[in-house]
Structures are given as C-alpha cells and as structure tokens.
C-alpha cells in the first residue's frame, strides 16, 4: 500500500502547477474563457510542449503515461486552474477512442494530437439522449461509396475548433442496443457537417453538430462495425476519471478560499470563522473533500481492472464528485455571503465549474443508477 505518486508524476504536477500559477492567473483565464475562440491557442501549444497531452497517452501510442494516476495528476492540476483548453475532449475522449479502435492509418493522427497541432473531439451525446452510452439515434447507412450519416450531436467540447471528430452512429439494432453502434472518424471540413458553437456558463465553448447526409469513405469507420460501444465506454470512462480529478482540484481551491475568507472576514467585531455554525459546515466540507479524493484514487486505481470493477469504481467516483462538488460549490458561496455571488470573485467560477462537471459525461443520478445496475451484473 502506497499513496505517494511516483517521482515522475510529482514532477509533472509541479511543473504544471507552476505553469498555471504563472501563465493562467484568474484574470487571464477569465479573458480566455470568454474569448471568441473559447481557449488560448498559445497556451494550448504550451501545454503540449510541457508534455501535458503526452502524459495522457501510453508509450505504445506515442505518449509517456496514460495510466489512471497520470490522468488524475494532470486533471487535478487543470482543475486548480480552471483550465478551458480542450485537453479532455481531444486527448482523453477522442484520443482514447482513436487509440483503442483505430487502425495504423487512423492512429497516425495521434502524433499531431499529442503535439497539439490537431484538435479532436468526441461527438456522442445527442439532443434527445443525455449521458446514455448505448442510446444513439444518429444513423450511418452504407452507400455505394462508403457511408452516409444523418443525425445530430449535442454539446460537443470545443467543437468549433476541432479539426477532427469521432462520431458515434447506429449501423444496426434498436436505438438503445449496445450492439450496432459504430464509430466514424471525420474531418471537420466534411460536407454536410454543420457546426454551431456557443459559450458555456463555466467558461470555454461547445458546439451543436448537424449531420445532414454526410458522405464518408469506407476507411472513415473507426474500429469494427457495430462494436463501438466498448470503445465508447473506455473513452468516456477515462473522461469520467479526468472530470473527477479536475473537480477535486477545483474543490481544493474553493475550500482554501472559503477557509481563508472565514479567517479574514469580520462581522459583529470578530472573524466569522469563530462562529460554530460556520466551523461545523467547514469541517463537513473538509471531511467530504477527503472522501472525494479517496473516490478519485479508487477510480484511478481501477482503470486497468476488469470491466465491472473499473466501471463501478468510475461511477462511484462520479456519484461522489457530483454530490460533493455541489456541496462544496453551494457551501462556499453561502459562507462567502454576498461577495460569493459576484463575477469578480474567482471562487464563483470554481463553484460554477464544480456544478457543471456534474452535467458532463453523466450526472450523480445517472451514475448512481449505473452503479446499481453494474452491481446486479456483478452479483449475477
């Protein structure tokens, strides 16, 4: 039993934390997050040079990490800085899908993803399907020249800036069958693909995708036809871990800021931290954040375990993060009082991000149901 990170991971975390502290101040981040681009191409390039993207890929895929604890270390640091650059979408979600299912020709793009010169995005969620892994209404039909895709994809991370999409589409089966989902790799410039972007409440931008008779060549199929579910589950599972770790980083900052406020804000002539009503709430917060950290450790450790163990640990973590993230966000705002309601206070943005993480890749309710369903499979 050992809860220390390796020397390499500690060094990576140190350099990433230092970079964020120096280059990603709250003011800089606020500017970037509200920019028309949705992130900073310069910072993005610097993340790539720091090795942040490479750390998320295995050595066999051109990276130098890719384990659960690599994801955890990187994303905890990113969470501390409220980083909006498309690391989750490009490196973790799309990157894992290409890594897991791609042929050699398709995997050639990984070098550019790791280098930051290509941005990829996973387009799976749809306007009428929220969080479900298997429910896919977008259809792909065989044509004389390959495939034709029709459908829509919802809230795709940094979709406007993506060069490349991994799109899930149904090639067989009923709308919620695990079998019959296929993945396709397509350029953002493909005719018939319409990308409409918008800002988000927690910073950065997302896009809605319409696929109107998008014609693809046969080599656009990523992996085996009809067997995309397992790949989606792996990719989204890694994304869940990344989000949980990111939330943990954000929680730590929110907790520290709130504690600092309790120690400095005076009312009735004393520091408000001297009031037991607030002390006990803060003690609860601390207790819960430690449980969140344990949940992230459990999920990271289970990432290479058998499917049921892995997926249960991931869903357990997302349930924990959903509940505790909301608690930290709401309690931090409450203990800050009026100032906690303002845009100018960094804390408010941590609170928004914590709440919105619950709206990505499955919320607390979704993952609680999933945890229960997976438990029945374990028992059966």
């Amino acid at each position: 039993m050992n809860f220390e990170h390796t020397e390499e991971r500690r060094m990576l975390a140190d350099s990433l934390n230092r970079f964020i502290a120096e280059q990603y101040s709250f003011e800089a981040r606020d500017r970037i997050a509200q920019s028309a681009h949705g992130f900073s191409p310069e910072i993005w390039q610097q993340f790539a040079e720091l090795g942040v993207i490479g750390a998320l890929f295995r050595e066999t895929d051109g990276g130098f990490g890719g384990a659960g604890f690599d994801i955890a270390v990187v994303f905890e640091a990113l969470g501390r800085g409220l980083v909006v650059e498309p690391i989750l979408g490009s490196a973790v979600l799309a990157g894992e899908a290409i890594t897991a299912a791609g042929n050699d020709a398709q995997k050639a793009v990984l070098a550019d993803i790791i280098g930051g010169t290509t941005i990829a995005a996973l387009a799976h969620d749809e306007p009428d399907t929220h969080y479900e892994l298997a429910r896919v209404l977008t259809r792909a039909e065989r044509s004389a020249n390959g495939w034709v895709l029709n459908g829509a994809k919802a809230v795709v991370l940094q979709g406007e800036r993506a060069d490349l999409f991994v799109v899930s589409a149904r090639t067989a089966g009923a709308v919620d069958d695990e079998a019959g989902i296929s993945l396709f790799l397509l350029s953002a410039k493909t005719p018939g693909l319409i990308v409409r972007g918008c800002p988000t409440i927690d910073g950065g931008r997302v896009a809605e995708l319409s696929l109107n008779g998008v014609a693809l060549s046969p080599d656009a199929l990523l992996g085996v036809e009809g067997q995309g579910f397992a790949t989606l589950e792996r990719a989204i599972g890694r994304g869940v871990l990344a989000l949980c770790a990111e939330a943990l980083g954000a929680m730590e900052v929110a907790k520290a800021a709130t504690l600092d406020y309790l120690r400095t804000r005076k009312q009735f002539g004393v520091f408000i931290g001297s009031f037991q009503a607030l002390q006990h709430r803060m003690a609860d917060l601390l207790l819960e954040v430690e449980q969140a950290r344990s949940a992230v450790i459990n999920a990271a450790a289970a990432l290479d375990a058998d499917r049921l163990t892995r997926e249960r640990a991931l869903s357990a973590a997302k349930v924990s993060i959903g509940r505790i993230g909301a608690l930290v966000a709401e309690e931090s705002i409450q203990m800050h009082g009026g100032i906690g309601m303002t845009w100018e206070l960094p804390l408010a943005h941590y609170a928004k991000r914590l709440i919105m993480i619950d709206h990505q890749l499955g919320d607390e309710d979704h993952h609680l149901q999933r945890f229960i369903a997976l438990g029945r499979q374990t028992a059966a």
Binding site: L259, Q279, M282, Q291, S294, I297, N298, V319, Q369
Partner: protein, 402 residues
C-alpha cells in the same frame, strides 16, 4: 500509488483468516451475526482464545505481550475479525488502560496490572463521563482527597460516574477524579485505578431505549483507594485522558463492521419482498444502499490513506475525527436500512429472542428480531467517544485553525 496489500500482508491476512476459521467458535459468531446478546462468559471466552494466540493486546508493544503489528496488520486483523463475525474485543482494559499504563504507569503498576488484563483476572470499565461532564469532560467533579492513615497513603473518593459501559461485569474501574479544586479545570484532574469491590462503590444499571443493560451509573461514597493506584502524576491525569482518547484511532472508522453489516443487509434485501420483487430491486431502497456502499468504499480508502501516513511516521491526529464522524454516519445508515428492510416486522420486540437459549415464538424473519433494537442502540455511535459535534470542533480547531 498502489492500493494493494504487500505479499507479506496478504500472507498475514490468510493467517488471520485461517485462525478465525479454526478457533472462532460458531456459537459466538452466530450470535454476533444475528445481533444476539453476548454474555460476560462469551466475551471472556473470546479474549482467552485471542490471548492464547498472542493477539489480544494487538496495540501493545512486544515487550509487554503485544504481537508488534504494524498499523496495516492491525487494520487487516480488525477487518477480518469483523467479516468473520467475531465478538469485538472489549476495549477498556486492552485498548484503553493498557496503552496508558505502558506510557504513564510506573514499573510496579505495569508488572501488576498488564498481565492481569491479558489473562482476564481483571475486567475493566471506564470512569470518565459524569452526569455533569459529558462532552465537557474536563468538568468532572468526582473528588479524590489525599490522606494518610495507619495503612498508608490513600485517596478518599466521592462522586458519581455515568454511562459506564459493561460496568456490571467489571471488578476494576479507571477514573478521572478531581484532586485539586483550586486549579484550572484540566489541571486538577488525576487518573486513578479503583477496585470496585471496595466498600462504598455501587453500580446501578441504566436500561437503554432498546431495553438493554449495557451502561451503568457508578456511585462512590467515601471509597478508600491506595495512593499507589494513581497513574502518572497527581493533577496531571488530563494528559492520560487525552492520550487514551486519541490512542490508536486508526480503526475508529469501523470499516470492517460496516462492510460486514452491509453484506448482511444485501442478503436481507435480496430476500425481503416489495411489490412482488426483492427489496434490493426497489429503486429508492437500492439507491440508498448504493449510496452507503459508495460512501463506505471512499471511507475505506480514506482510512487506508491515514494508516499509510502513520506507517510513514505520521501521527494520527484530528484526521481520526473525520473517520469517527463518517464511520458512525455509515454504520447508522446501514442500521437504518436494516430496520426499514424488515417492514412491519421491525416492530415486534421479544427481548428474550436475543438470548442464545431462546426457543419461543419467532415473529417474522430471524433478522427482524434485532433490527429495530440495533438501530436504536446504534444512535449511541454519534454520541459516545466524543460526539460528532465535538469531533467537528476538533477538526475546526486542529486542522482548519479556526
């Protein structure tokens, strides 16, 4: 990061499992598993079995008869004992007084009392709380006046102790007594060992809301205690008291107890029916069970993180307060679900059914007999050992610096 036990620790775990399979009497584990009452003889029997193996005083150093286990080994032992439904070690002599004597006792005291704890010659209880000193423990008002007569130096003790767990079985009690009324309240307290057969000691039962005689009041009227029974220095007993309260709290979370209780709950939920389906498939019940399971997995890792920190040379401090709070919340939630699982059968209350010689009428499923009583009994968890509110005060002061 590596959450696995080492190969040596796995060997140790197997050794513990083999011991439990071999030496834990089924009669005792059946009682524990079904929430039945353990007699003093049951507890003594289990203590003796552990002592024969050298595993009773598992927090003590080797020099005093302990096994010399690491914090991880202690965790594994505790966990496996819980999973096997072994009786809990009665903590007052072994886990509470023993470490205090080893740390603060003189050689004579150590040589006399420690072996008697191990072989069961003495059965200890704890004289800390009073009716006016609960969470505010330093407010103890039981007095001990120093005197001298033909038989030597002694104290005369007067006062009353409350919530004395299993005091009805004990022949010895360790007490916090006030030896100096002039000093500030923490500074006038002494740690005194009192023979309960001394004239003037009276034990009165307190029946708790579950109908059980577990706790007592102990009255002291002009009780003469030899001065040699003072542990540590006079007026410095608060140091012993605090040491005892923080000693070995790495197992305070009760992870093993909750894991075992949750396994039992899952079995019950698979058998009990609601709307023609097993209760385990009821969405509301399943959600609550899943939430407590997730909380338990998180707390287990938090507990192991703390143990790893201790093994690495850290001292378990206020972090154990977090484990106490979350651990008791989880145990109470499992008790609550266990009670709910019984539906209307939680109400029938046949106290004799919890004794091991009961052959009378059984109402509802076997597990129903103890479900409500255990739930009510477990309300104590968030009150004793420093209420959960006191734990939050400790966290606030020691960790948050507020």
């Amino acid at each position: 990061m590596d959450l696995n036990f080492t190969p040596e620790e796995e060997i140790f775990r197997n050794e513990v499992r083999a011991f439990l399979a071999d030496r834990l009497p089924a009669r005792l584990s059946d009682k524990v598993a079904n929430g039945k009452h353990l007699s003093k003889a049951d507890m003594q029997e289990w203590h003796a079995i552990l002592n024969t193996r050298g595993w009773l005083a598992n927090h003590w150093p080797v020099a005093y008869g302990g096994p010399g286990w690491s914090a991880v080994e202690k965790f594994i032992f505790e966990h496996e004992c819980c999973l096997a439904s072994a009786p809990r070690i009665v903590p007052f002599g072994v886990n509470m007084l023993g470490p205090v004597l080893i740390k603060f006792g003189n050689e004579t005291q150590k040589r006399h009392w420690l072996p008697r704890i191990l072989d069961g010659s003495d059965w200890w209880c704890q004289g800390y709380s009073e009716t006016g000193a609960g969470s505010d423990l330093a407010a103890v008002s039981t007095t001990a006046l120093r005197g001298h007569d033909a038989q030597g130096d002694h104290y005369i003790v007067n006062g009353q102790k409350a919530w004395t767990t299993l005091g009805q079985h004990a022949n010895m009690i360790f007490c916090l007594v006030r030896t100096n009324r002039e000093a500030k309240k923490q500074e006038g307290i002494s740690f005194l060992l009192i023979d309960m057969t001394t004239p003037g000691v009276e034990v009165r039962p307190v029946i708790t809301l579950d109908g059980v005689h577990e706790v007592n009041e102990v009255f002291f009227t002009d009780v003469r205690v030899p001065a040699e029974n003072l542990v540590g220095e006079e007026d410095k007993g608060w140091t012993c008291a605090k040491y005892l309260l923080t000693y070995e709290r790495t197992n305070i979370a009760g992870v093993g107890l909750s894991v075992a209780a949750l396994e039992r709950l899952k079995r019950i939920a698979a058998q009990q029916m609601r709307n023609g389906r097993p209760l385990a498939e009821d969405p509301s019940f399943a959600a609550r069970m899943a939430r407590v399971e997730i909380d338990l997995e998180n707390m287990k890792t938090t507990n192991l993180r703390m143990i790893a920190a201790v093994v690495g040379g850290g001292v378990p401090g206020a972090e154990s307060s977090m484990l106490k709070i979350r651990g008791t919340q989880i145990r109470q939630e499992i008790s609550s679900l266990n009670r709910r699982a019984m539906g209307p059968y939680a109400r029938p209350f046949i106290t004799e059914a919890l004794e091991d010689d009961y052959t009378g009428m059984q109402v509802g499923p076997e597990a129903a007999a103890s479900a409500a009583a255990l739930y009510f009994n477990n309300r104590k968890l968030s009150i004793f050992g420093g209420s959960n509110e006191i734990q939050k005060n400790i966290i606030s002061k020691m960790i948050l610096g507020l």
